[in-house]
């Protein structure tokens, strides 16, 4: 039996149909576009824009995700070269440069470039960008104006500081701002598409989206168990249902429910994600090396279980929104909760990296992690710029060591799995050492 075939991680059976959603999304987009359905290219808007577009029967495509697809299929270099030739600086987001090059090619040819992975991205009627987290999330789409005549709508998402979020009235004006922007967005879409919003449909979609994320949240809560029943690989394979809500949301809700049952069964029966003893429980930040996921299998063979990962791909901590009758306000409160839900705890802990670093301190305690694997990416600033901070806070506050392994989102050669594995072996001694230190300091694990 070859190494690849050896079962090193007990993958969840219920993960496969969730993973397939992404492929279906690309297929569906192409078909829908051929059938004359409008397509929007969207940044991840953390649920602000997706359901609104869905309610208006617009297909959403996610070029950030498509960047990962192009990188995995080896199609990225040609698009990157084109972006460079057009004068975009090379230090910028690899996915953005991939998309700029792809679009330039598409407009030259007047059609989807031949050989574009997964059938390519159809020409959009709208670019939905976002002020959330990353500067590329709006500057990239603005720059697409060089090639496309599609309008750009920038979705606002307030990012207050921990202390500032507590100023009297701040919550209300932040939510009010988001709601006002969402309302403008709906008005704009109605004009763009010459049709009216179906508010009942939107209402139902939001409920489905909230329910889907609630179940997804509960699944991840179950991962606190020892041994942890679900590995990060299953998380990454399943997260697109939540992050890129496409297709029928009721189907997605159902798929996540089935996953919940499977994970719960494992917890009840003490079944871990590793077929062997779980020696180390790890936290992973941020984007995984998609092309080298086998690396995690090698670590699994050594008893490393990845029990929790990047905060920003996780759904918000559930809050009761049933009494909020305005659907747009429900969206606003939901997304704002995702961003600031942990702020009160961060404030009490005196941690000002409220969403960038603090969630990891909570995760590390709640999931009882022995170490963190940090994956800085040369051309994704957003996944990188807080990693040193997290490393420092984890060590200072919880005596949890971090292993740093560099990579990139498009230059796949930068991640060296052999070297990373060598480093990981040495890191085990560090984790063992800090396990003792934590005990001496009265920490629970």
């Amino acid at each position: 039996m070859t190494n690849e075939k050896k079962r090193t991680i007990n993958r969840l059976k219920t993960m496969y149909p969730l993973r397939a959603l992404l492929d279906e999304m690309y297929k569906g987009n192409i078909e829908a576009s051929k059938a004359g359905k409008p397509t929007a290219w969207c940044m991840v808007t953390f649920w602000e824009g997706d359901v609104i577009l869905k309610a208006m029967d617009v297909e959403s495509v996610y070029p950030e995700n498509y960047g990962a697809v192009c990188a995995a299929f080896g199609a990225a270099p040609a698009y990157l070269d084109r972006s460079d030739a057009d004068g975009f600086p090379t230090h910028m987001c690899g996915y953005a440069r991939n998309c700029l090059g792809y679009t330039a090619r598409m407009m030259d040819l007047g059609e989807i470039p031949p050989g574009a992975p997964m059938g390519g991205m159809p020409k959009p009627i709208l670019l939905l960008s976002s002020g959330s987290l990353c500067d590329a999330h709006y500057k990239w789409f603005q720059a697409l104006g060089r090639y496309l005549d599609a309008p750009v709508w920038t979705m606002e998402l307030p990012l207050p500081g921990v202390k500032e979020s507590r100023i009297e009235g701040a919550y209300e004006h932040n939510i009010g701002f988001m709601v006002a922007e969402l309302r403008e967005f709906v008005t704009f879409l109605e004009r763009l598409l010459s049709k009216k919003m179906d508010w009942d449909k939107l209402d139902e979609l939001i409920d489905d989206m909230i329910e889907m994320n609630r179940v997804w949240y509960e699944i991840n809560e179950l991962r606190k168990a020892r041994p942890c029943p679900m590995h990060s690989r299953d998380f990454w394979s399943s997260m697109s249902g939540s992050l890129y809500p496409s297709g029928d949301l009721k189907v997605s809700v159902d798929l996540y429910r089935k996953m919940y049952d499977e994970v719960k069964y494992r917890v009840d029966n003490n079944i871990g994600a590793l077929p062997i003893e779980e020696k180390y429980r790890l936290l992973f930040l941020e984007l995984p090396p998609w092309h080298s996921l086998g690396f995690f299998n090698q670590l699994a063979e050594r008893g490393w279980n990845f029990v929790v990962e990047s905060w920003s791909y996780h759904p918000p901590q559930p809050i009761d929104l049933t009494k909020v009758s305005d659907p747009l306000e429900r969206i606003a409160r939901f997304t704002y909760q995702w961003l600031t839900g942990r702020f009160p705890d961060a404030f009490n802990a005196g941690e000002w990296g409220g969403y960038s670093a603090y969630p990891y301190l909570e995760y590390a305690q709640d999931y009882q992690c022995d170490g963190a694997l940090l994956h800085p990416l040369v051309t994704c600033r957003t996944a990188t710029n807080h990693l040193m901070l997290v490393q420092d806070r984890l060590m200072k506050k919880l005596k949890i060591p971090s292993l740093v392994v560099e990579g990139d989102i498009v230059d796949l050669k930068l991640f060296d799995p052999v070297d990373a594995l060598r480093k990981a072996e040495t890191f085990e001694e560090t984790m063992n050492h800090y396990k003792k230190v934590r005990r001496q300091e009265g920490l629970e694990w």
Binding site: E156, G176, M388
Partner: protein, 388 residues
Amino acid sequence: MVMESQGLARVREIYHDRSHRVKQLKAAGEKVIGYFCVYPVLEMLTALNLVPYRVFGDMREPITKADSCLPTVVCPFIRSALDLGLKGKYDFLDGVVMAHVCEVGEKTAHIWNLYLNPPYFHFIDTPHTVHKAAQKQHKELLKDFEKTLELFTGKELSPGRLREAIEAHNQQRALVRELYNLRKPDPPLISGTETLQVMVALMSLPVEEGNKLLRQVINEVKGRKDGLQKKTRLLIWGSIIDDVALIEMIEGLGANLVMDDTCVGSRFYFPDVELTDDPLDGLAYRYLVELKCPRTFREAVFGETKKDYMADLDSRFSYLKEYAREWNVNGVILQSVRYCDIHGYEVPQVKDYLDSIGLPSIYLEHDYSEAALAPLRTRVQAFLEVIS
């Protein structure tokens, strides 16, 4: 008795020892508040007798401490500023205000607060768009800022004092524009290097003191008889320039830098604040809508359903055409620090615009260190040869 130096001599003194004056003021009981970039509303500080002091980096000093909390693949300017903070060089500040200028700026705000723990700290989450709702939100954010300032100073921020502060800062803006007018003749009466030194000095002084100094500088420059020589006239665009090294290099190669679109220059000073009934309205508008930094998303027509690229460029960059015409510019240097996404995405678009109005341009990227400027010399030289 030692005579206090005046005009450009005083500017040079301040430029070479920026914090000297504010430290004196601090010793006399005043409070000094550091601010990053152009978005913190200075009038609100001035109105409460707080001295605004712009936080810069130091491209001549190696970064040794910031690595522990900011990786090497982010804006080297911000890394440098944080590095200086971690080395204690901003310890004299009584507080710091930062805004959401860009992503790394936003992250660094919280890092600064966490590691340097200044007595006062506030973060303004400046919106990304200029929509009506964003303007309203910005005003709310300024009210939040006001609350924390009042708490810190124990004083109330009265509309009357705020109006006076707006007038004083508008006065400074008018004087800066007057100084920039002295760059319009050929040859200009003041060099790009000197102008930048004046800007840095102004950002290191209380506003009234800065105004006094500016008047001296303007008088001195107006009276110049044998100043600069006629050379190729350039405009410089892009990310922050807080050190004269790059400008000196360009001017040393046989050009006069006669105009800029950077944030230690016209971008910071040109737009006035309108004196509205509620002064916060004028402030909220000016600092969100009027400041033309590429960190803000704009579109030619709000809610347009089709994008016309040239109209888009025109709405975003037509002020550059005005600058080029009024300052009689022959070419444009586009420059940015590496890892600045805000400016990076903009480069081909500004270039497209400049091409459309027939202005030649060149793009320079650097890593905010003096040593890194040397390789750019040849490129600038070649550019000057082509355009002159």
